[in-house]
């Protein structure tokens, strides 16, 4: 394997990871505020359709991306109205929204299916893209990668370093405590849900305008939203780890494509589903590591102790056990 080939693979991983990272960061923001947005998969798909249709209509892909973000926020608004203000089960509404948005995207997108349209193109930052190995991957290929890294920085800075971020985390950890400190809990949750939806909508736009350009009845990004949901748990609700999770799953996708050339005997369908068993296995490993049984075993066997999670971590208090439960 030459250096060129390796750096091309790394570039492909960052490119494929960009929308996954945005969707997973969106869900992170939402869940850190205590709102589980299970509609990710439908949101990404519907936003992909909306972004492509608008970009094709106006001829400007950036307007399309904006429309995708708007569509994602609109779906999140439906979830928030049902979950926060009507008191319906967030999981049930989110799941119905996933199915509904997927079908709605296919229905509304029928007219623009298999049509040519604009895409976000490529972008090269002069100077930075000449950095050996990583320069081309990060700064030399597409605005998509830069966008995902910017979102990562922004979400991390917002959650970890700003006052509103602290309020959001407080609401997610303990809505009651936050309410008694005078925080308008539902308004904060509404805002974080909307922001998360908008980020997921951007992810949809990145799919249809750059990573898997175009729209069709299978668009090609089906299931990505579910992977993003799993990445949030995998990354322990922490933005930087979530970003690494997105890179990990993108690497599996890229490895599948690379192996397909090397092992032509295996069907392409098998490589397309590879991320899903890996998703189950990573959740298994992560959740077992956080379990009480493992903690007790680690106390007795010193070698296991090295695998112990260093911080308590885990889900924000308001949603603890909702998606990572056991007995």
């Amino acid at each position: 394997m030459t250096v060129d080939y390796a750096s091309a693979l790394v570039a492909a991983v960052f490119f494929a990871a960009a929308p996954l990272m945005l969707a997973a960061l969106g869900e992170t923001v939402s869940e850190r505020g205590g709102v589980i947005n299970l509609s990710m998969d439908g949101t990404v798909l519907f936003a992909a359709m909306a972004a492509f249709a608008v970009a094709r209509g106006c001829g400007n892909p950036w307007l399309g991306l904006l429309a995708g973000a708007g569509a994602g926020a609109a779906i999140a608004l439906i979830l928030a109205v049902f979950g926060l203000f009507l008191g319906a089960s967030e999981l049930a509404v989110g799941f119905v929204l996933t199915l509904f948005c997927r079908e709605l995207a296919y229905f509304m997108g029928h007219g623009v299916a298999r049509q040519p349209g604009p895409d976000l193109g490529s972008l090269s930052v002069p100077g930075l893209s000449d950095i050996p190995f990583l320069g081309q991957a990060l700064f030399g290929q597409s605005p998509v990668v830069l966008l995902s890294l910017a979102a990562l920085g922004l979400v991390w800075w917002f959650l970890a370093r700003t006052r509103p971020g602290l309020v959001l985390r407080a609401v997610g950890e303990s809505p009651r405590a936050a309410a008694s400190r005078g925080v308008a809990v539902r308004r904060v949750q509404l805002l974080c849900c909307l922001a998360g939806g908008a980020l997921a909508g951007c992810a949809g736009g990145l799919y249809s305008l750059s990573v898997k350009p175009g729209w069709g009845h299978p668009q090609g990004c089906e299931g990505a939203g579910w992977i993003a949901l799993a990445i949030v748990i995998f990354g322990g609700w922490k933005p930087v780890r979530v970003a690494f999770g997105a890179l990990f799953f993108a690497a599996i996708q890229v490895a599948g494509i690379a192996l397909q050339d090397a092992l032509p005997g295996l069907s392409g369908a098998l490589f397309q589903i590879a991320p899903f068993p890996v998703m189950i296995l990573t959740l298994l490993a992560v959740n077992l590591r956080r379990s009480t049984a493992f903690r007790e075993a680690a106390r007795r066997v010193p070698l296991l102790g090295r695998l112990m999670p260093r911080s308590a971590g885990g889900a924000p208090g308001a949603i603890a056990g909702a998606l990572d439960k056991g007995f």
Partner: protein
Amino acid sequence: MTRRAAPLVRAAWALAAAFAVTLGILLAAGAPPFATLAVMAEGGLGSQAAALRTLAAFTPLLLCGAALCVTFAANLWNIGVEGQITMGAIFAQGCLRAADPAGGLPAGLDLALGLAASALGGLVWALLAGMLRTHGRVHEIFSGLGLNFVAMGVSLWLILGPWKRPGMASMSGTETLDQALWLPALGGRPMSMVGPILAVAAFVGAAWLLRRTFFGLTLAAVRQNALAATRLGLRPGLRILAAMGICGALAGLAGGILVAGLYHRLIPSISGNYGYTAILAVLLASGSLLALPAACLFFAVLTVGSVQLPLSLSLDSSLAGVLQGVLVLTLFAARRLRPLSRRREP
């Protein structure tokens, strides 16, 4: 308003709201709204052939609906039904293509074995998800969804690989089964009546299990308070596995009926979204066992009716899923939209 009438009033509100939202969506998509709905009704109920197709879609929906009632009774979000149908279909096809219609066992026994194998396939797939939940702390939403994709991959691999038609692999499915191994059909129609009968029997059985047996009571105990159920020695983990197993067996049976009674071969994505649609039907029936068959029938009409849309109006057939989703969402809203007397605790 009497207490008995309240759900009906809510359903009427939900229907009216769903109708309004649907009109909005159709107008936004530039489709003639009333012509579209007429095409769907005509395609689902308009002729004897259409009614039979609706019945063919109703069968797996009712089976999966009954299956999902069992897992919902244990408070499980079992969205892996789609994969359990697929696994059932794979097991049935594997069993039936190995059967020798000419000699050996009588054809009826072959078929019974095939359907039993399909139930086993669904059971295995559901238990896998259940054990990931009880022993691996993986939420059933993720294990179910992941296993759906895995089952789809396995069926595609079988169709294009080991079970491909002699000469050429084709996305239209494996080779058709011997006619002796089809579920018996009346008067030369493609669809068998054995499927609907089995589905109704399974539904009645599930209703009896949940409402009239000790097992049903323990599931309710696990749903309402898992900790108390543990203290009572009800072993929630075991109950959850049992509920998943029953659900998987019924869903697998639906897959077996699709193979032996309708398609007579394994085709790609044989589960045809029935698993997801059944979840919506159960949510629409909102826990009422009586309302479930009606919800399944209504969704079957929508699903079958929408198949005509691409041909006659060049619309996408996913309109059925849109309508189903709108209906469930408006019902959620109708159930919750009361004057703000009972505020949710923050």
